[in-house]
Assembly symmetry: C2
Homo-oligomer: 229 residues x 2
């Protein structure tokens, strides 16, 4: 589903250029359930942002579902993202003025234009699946860290995307809640043939991943498959 | 150092009142290195916010370093906090317009009025101790998740507080970086007789904690000590 050829990213912020990715090449198949691991600051979020069309590579080629995403203009990138990708951000990025329910509903309105009755079913199903039914009328500032994280997870999954990019999705979750989320994702992967790519330090996810890609200092150090989970 | 007697917290936000803490009683000694654990939404952040004078209990008594913190007015609470407590927030709460260096320096200027030369030494020592020397001129939006977390850690420790409240301080850190942070904190606890209270799901911290307080649904379910680490 995803092929990267010598993908690089350099941040220019007025000072010394920062090479976050120094030319990585990789391939991730459809329906994969894989994880990118590596030390803090090694380039994981950068890589996910590029695959997810939230940023552009400085060099190299990046194909996602057959599309060269580096070549997309801003509007086309947003349309492509909305049609294919669910993203769970490391910092959640919930909309402060919307309730938990409305945050999850948002992409169905703004991006996919789903009819109201179907929309309601899809939102309620995902909110229940992440254990947030009792909390759905709250705004983000009224939720705990792990509750916000679960709203972010529900929002990424509600559009039934082809590809889910999950940046540290369980960092704020206790063991049982995290395992529930991992099971939910495995179920969705099986039922909807969804591809999941995680960036994570969480051994609970790493243990379930069927492929591990290790990034260190902007370089892909190794990748290998392990038995299915 | 900290004594809580039947501490409760009810959030009123226009709807049904939320009982985040339903009367917890506990005691934490000076120089403790302990952890509060529990499911997502169980009341951990709420408890730390009360101990740290960032919020007030709805009921009960809470003594921190001999002071009844529930009775403090806003200004006195801020002064008490600045004089005694370092807080590592679950969402980091860095100041977006300041660099990493300036974020760490901030409490020394605004709260403790430390002279420039001494201030520079203290800030550089902590920034080096959390492995952020190379990144100190960046603003928060130019840092990775784990890098922001480490800036938040340095900022909480730079004032040499009597009590450190650390809410999920290693959630975004890889194993080696997290172990380095835990060692740093153990060292500070020994050298400065600092008390550390963590709220965490991270077994790496739980394994090092010498006391565990378990919260579930706003109630303290159990507390017990385990061997030193
Ligand atoms: N401002 C608020 N208004 C209403 N309810 C709140 C508010 N803050 C927290 N709560 C609720 O109080 C309960 C406890 O929240 P708290 O943040 O203490 O949980 P937590 O144990 O830290 O969870 P996590 O592990 O997910 O960070 C939760 O159900 C939460 O939704
Ligand atoms: N906007 C930016 N400007 C400058 N440098 C940046 C920017 N964003 C990230 N970086 C740098 O690029 C490197 C990689 O960042 P990235 O966020 O991809 O790391 P990460 O592997 O996700 O780390 P973590 O595990 O801490 O989340 C880091 O050194 C970071 O400081
Ligand atoms: Mg990251
Ligand atoms: Mg919390």
């Amino acid at each position: 589903l995803i092929t990267g050829q010598d993908v690089s990213k350099v941040y220019h912020n007025g000072g010394v250029p920062i090479e976050a990715l120094k030319g990585v090449s990789f391939s991730i198949e459809k329906e994969a359930f894989v994880s990118v691991v590596g030390p803090s600051g090694s380039g994981k979020t950068t890589l996910l942002n590029l695959i997810g069309c939230l940023d552009k590579p400085s060099g190299g080629r990046l194909l996602v579902a057959g599309t060269d995403v580096a070549g997309l203009g801003r509007t086309d990138a947003a349309i492509f993202r909305g049609s294919h990708i669910g993203f769970i951000f490391q910092s959640f990025n919930l909309i402060p003025v919307l309730t938990a329910y409305e945050n999850v509903e948002y992409p169905l309105i703004m991006v996919q234009n789903v009819p109201a009755a179907q929309r309601r079913r899809q939102v309620q199903d995902l909110i229940a699946a992440v254990g947030m039914s009792d909390q759905q009328t709250k705004r983000p500032d009224q939720l705990s860290g792990g509750q916000k994280q679960r709203v972010a997870i529900a929002r990424a999954l509600v559009t039934h995307p082809q590809l889910v990019l999950a940046d540290e999705p369980t960092a704020n979750l206790d063991h049982d809640t995290a395992m529930g989320i991992i099971r939910l994702m495995k179920g969705i992967r099986k039922e909807l043939q969804t591809t999941f790519v995680f960036s994570t330090h969480d051994v609970r996810i790493i243990d379930e991943a069927e492929g591990i890609y290790r990034i260190e200092d902007g370089l892909l150090k190794e990748s290998h498959n392990q038995g299915g989970g």
